[in-house]
């Protein structure tokens, strides 16, 4: 009998189905990998299992009994522990205190410090971790924190352990150790649901794999029978076809020349070299933590010191602050919307912020100049806003992204750096953004864009640079851009 079973689960968010009729079984003692591209429904599924989403159709059975959790606490009490990508440890508290927080009891009960320390040492030893229970969590490495998080989950009686990309921020040896621990936990009879984007890892850890695509279950198979080819086919949903369009930028002058650029920001970037021509769209493919964002921010003068040589239009280029990058005609659209949109400020104020000097001769802001520049751009990107004076925070995600894009455009960049420009925005807005980028490139703007969406990458990019674990693993020409190949490379496999 299955340990955990979902029967025909359907969940919609405001009309769009995130999960359609999905069934899923987890056996005791197995590691079951959940795979799928962004937006395939993985997180919705685990949120249902973790009790974070109660409003769904279908049935959830644990140990043969039908259950309906009315909150994460209920799921925990039933023996389901979830480890999210964002760790939930309190950084300033010691390891022992963090574990104590997870144990149920009255907030006013006296704390048995010695008992807690001993229990912590035991729990950590089980995971092969030898650290002083009094160490504050903030002094630990990321890998150690990840293990402490697991130890904390295991302080209660756990039957199902859900792990959402636990190795995405870990180095290869740390990830390897963690995988060994996960296998050991499964050996004790715990059922593990494991989400991963890394090909090697999936086949290293999985007993079975379930692939989701567009909210539906595509298949569940034993990992040994599925194979890498089979997994890629299931993830993409079709056989692989290569688009063959010539790179029109091939003959144009080089705009950006990067030689051995490296950066110690986290996630770090190891020396990478590439060139970008005028009017060229270079896609940077890489999952979260691959160093792709670090590359964009390094070229924008943001973050840790960079090493290596960069030349922009033949002149040495080494910005030490975003303002210097703007002065050289480089603009960045940050991936995190909190870092790209000023929610309290109006659309107009957001739009002109990076190029305000042009709209404020003699330091006086001239509204008519701003309006004259922003209105046509708003039309061009099809911005939907009640007015240009509306607070940007009140707009939809796609329109907020468009506001941030207008800000970049008004800075008249020669080089545009875009960090996942279409993340979390709807299909209509996404098409608008794609059209705009193509138009900009045709007009000579060089564009370096990171994306986690392979369809977007193959549709837009003239060339693609693939990063994995901080290293550039491949540069693919337009005719070589195939989703399967990209996906494999992004997951650390071979082309």
């Amino acid at each position: 009998m299955a340990l955990l079973e979902l029967r025909r689960v359907t969940k919609s968010f405001g009309g769009t189905a995130a999960l359609r009729d999905v069934s899923f079984e987890l056996e005791p003692g197995e590691v079951h990998v959940l795979a799928g591209e962004n937006g395939a429904g993985k997180s919705t599924l685990i949120r249902i299992i973790a009790g974070a989403l109660g409003d769904y159709a279908g049935e959830l059975r644990l140990g043969g009994r039908a259950l309906h959790f009315d909150g994460p606490a209920a799921a925990r009490a039933a023996g389901i522990a979830t480890i999210h990508q964002e760790l939930s440890l309190v950084p300033a508290l010691s390891v022992a205190d963090n574990l104590l927080l997870a144990t149920p009891g009255s907030p006013l009960a006296a704390v048995d410090r010695r008992g807690a320390r001993e229990a912590t040492t035991r729990a950590l030893a089980e995971l092969g971790l030898r650290i002083d229970p009094d160490t504050p969590v903030e002094a630990l490495s990321l890998a150690e924190r990840q293990l402490v998080e697991i130890a904390r989950a295991l302080t209660t009686d756990v039957r199902v352990l859900v792990m959402d990309e636990p190795t995405s921020a870990l180095s290869a040896p740390d990830a390897e150790r963690l995988l060994a621990r996960v296998k050991a936990l499964a050996g004790r009879g715990i059922g593990v649901i494991y989400i991963s984007h890394r090909m090697d890892e999936i086949f290293r850890v999985a007993d079975r794999v379930t692939v989701l695509r567009d909210g539906e279950r595509v298949l569940t198979a034993r990992a040994s029978e599925l194979g890498r080819e089979g997994l890629l086919r299931a993830l993409l949903g079709r056989e692989i076809a290569a688009p063959a369009v010539a790179n029109t930028a091939e003959k144009r002058p080089i705009r950006l020349r990067v030689r051995d650029l490296a950066c110690d920001s986290r996630p770090r970037l190891e020396p990478v070299s590439f060139e970008l021509r005028q009017g060229e769209l270079l896609g940077v493919a890489g999952v979260e933590g691959s160093g792709a964002s670090t590359l964009l921010h390094a070229l924008f003068g943001d973050g840790a010191r960079i090493r290596g040589d960069v030349a922009l239009d033949g002149e040495p280029y080494r910005p030490r602050a975003p303002a210097q990058a703007f002065a050289r005609g480089v603009a960045l659209l940050a991936g995190d919307r909190h870092a790209s949109v000023l929610a309290a400020q109006s659309v107009l104020e957001n739009a002109t912020l990076s190029s305000l000097r042009r709209f404020s001769p003699a330091a006086l802001v001239r509204r008519h100049l701003e309006l004259a520049a922003v209105k046509p751009e708003a039309l061009r990107v099809r911005l939907k806003a009640p007015s240009l004076d509306a607070a940007s925070g009140a707009l939809s995600g796609g329109n907020q992204q468009k506001v941030a894009l207008i800000r970049c455009l008004l800075a008249r960049p020669k080089l545009l750096l875009l960090d996942d420009p279409t993340r979390g925005i709807d299909l209509g807005a996404r098409a608008d953004v794609h059209a705009l980028l193509t138009e900009l490139a045709a007009a000579g703007t060089s564009i370096l864009f990171r994306t986690s969406d392979l369809t977007e990458l193959t549709a837009l990019a003239d060339r693609a640079l693939v990063l994995f674990d901080g290293r550039a693993v491949a540069t693919l020409e337009r005719r070589e851009l195939e989703e399967a190949r990209l996906l494999s490379l992004m997951m650390g496999g071979r082309a």
């Binding site: 975003p322 790209s340 949109v341 000023l342 002109t352 912020l353 404020s360 802001v365």
Partner: protein, 351 residues
């Protein structure tokens, strides 16, 4: 296919009673009306408890406008700092330091008024710039930096004055105490214009409000101040000179504190190192009462003007009706919370 039934249709027809209540709330909550509601409430209270008509006299209005001037000038600088996402606890102490400096230069040292004003303005701006630099470059929390500056500036004021009020009764070289003449600027700043109908400090306050409004709403740096207060990270990534902007905010606050200090010295006709205690809190209260959020990125100096008037009239209503100081303090505290709760509640109900 049948047309899907809409159960909302029946529910969405509201009763006439709830319509009038909702529209009244919408009106009260509109951004233009909301900030003046507490002020109007205080004025109505004053009209009811009018102390035999004393509340309606022009000299009462004139007194309120004079009494809020010094703290109102501080509140203007505070508005700029709060809009930029910070706080300046040092303004009361910088005011005292400026008052002491001004008296020290003009009375025992016999400087001309204009020279002393210029030096004191530089001192105030410098104190603000130091706070700003520590916030912007050393990335220490504004609360801590300006708390330290508050203590430090008070210390300098006491050191400079020897812990005594600096008046025109000074010790001359031969050890005798003599009365030195008070420079005319004292009389001018403490005087009235328009046939004695308006205090000079009120005019200075009005000018400060105008300057602040111009900085925040018309100048390029005004946009930068709002941007930095709204999201430091997003402003930085947009190419805003975030550090210079922060230094500017605190510098302006220090400059305004110096202006307030000069006015204070002129009104008291001496430089008192103990003056301005707790003024920073009144200045913050004026900003908050106007409806500017301490979170930064929103608000403005017009709101602060309304907040200053609300606080000033509240004090006047309570003192005209001979409430004790103790009761006045308690009522002021309670009304501050009520006003903020009202603004929050109303804005939430209509959003």
């Amino acid at each position: 296919m049948t047309e899907p039934r809409s159960p909302r249709a029946a529910e969405s027809a509201p009763s006439p009673d709830s319509v009038s209540r909702a529209s009244a709330l919408t009106w009260l909550a509109s951004p233009r009306i909301r900030p003046v509601v507490p002020l109007v409430a205080v004025l109505l209270l004053g009209a009811v408890l009018n102390a035999n008509g004393a509340f309606f006299l022009w000299q009462t209005q004139r007194a309120v406008l004079r009494e809020i001037a010094v703290e109102g000038i501080l509140a203007c600088g505070m508005t700029v700092v709060i809009v930029a996402g910070g706080i300046d606890l040092a303004v009361g102490s910088v005011l005292a330091l400026s008052a002491v400096c001004f008296a020290w230069l003009t009375l025992p040292h016999g400087w001309s008024g204009l020279g002393a004003v210029l030096v004191v303005l530089v001192v105030g701006a410098l104190a603000g710039a130091v706070s700003g630099a520590l916030v912007a470059f050393a990335r220490i929390q504004a609360f801590i930096v300006t708390l330290a500056m508050m203590v430090f500036a008070r210390g300098v004021a006491k050191e400079l004055s020897g812990g005594q009020k600096i008046s025109n009764y000074v010790q001359s070289a031969d050890g005798h105490f003599v009365n030195v003449p008070t420079p005319p600027i004292f009389g001018v700043l403490d005087g009235r214009v328009l046939g004695g109908e308006l205090s000079v400090v009120t005019l200075i306050f009005a000018a400060t409000v105008l300057v602040t409004w111009f900085v925040l709403r018309r100048l390029r740096i005004g946009r930068y101040l709002y941007a930095v207060g709204s999201s430091f990270e997003a402003a930085r990534l947009s190419g805003v000179p975030v550090r210079a902007t922060l230094v500017f905010a605190y510098l302006l606050s220090g400059l305004f504190a110096a202006i307030a200090g000069i006015c204070q010295a002129a009104q008291e006709t001496h430089g008192d190192p103990e003056t301005g205690l707790g003024y920073e809190l009144d200045a913050i209260a004026m900003v908050v009462l106007g409806g500017t959020s301490l979170a930064g990125g929103r608000g403005g100096v017009c709101l602060t003007l309304v907040g200053a008037l609300t606080l000033g009239y509240l004090q006047k209503v309570l003192s005209l009706n001979a409430y004790s100081t103790e009761l006045r303090l308690m009522l002021t505290g309670a009304i501050l919370i009520l006003a903020v709760l009202f603004q929050r509640r109303v804005s939430r109900e209509t959003e």
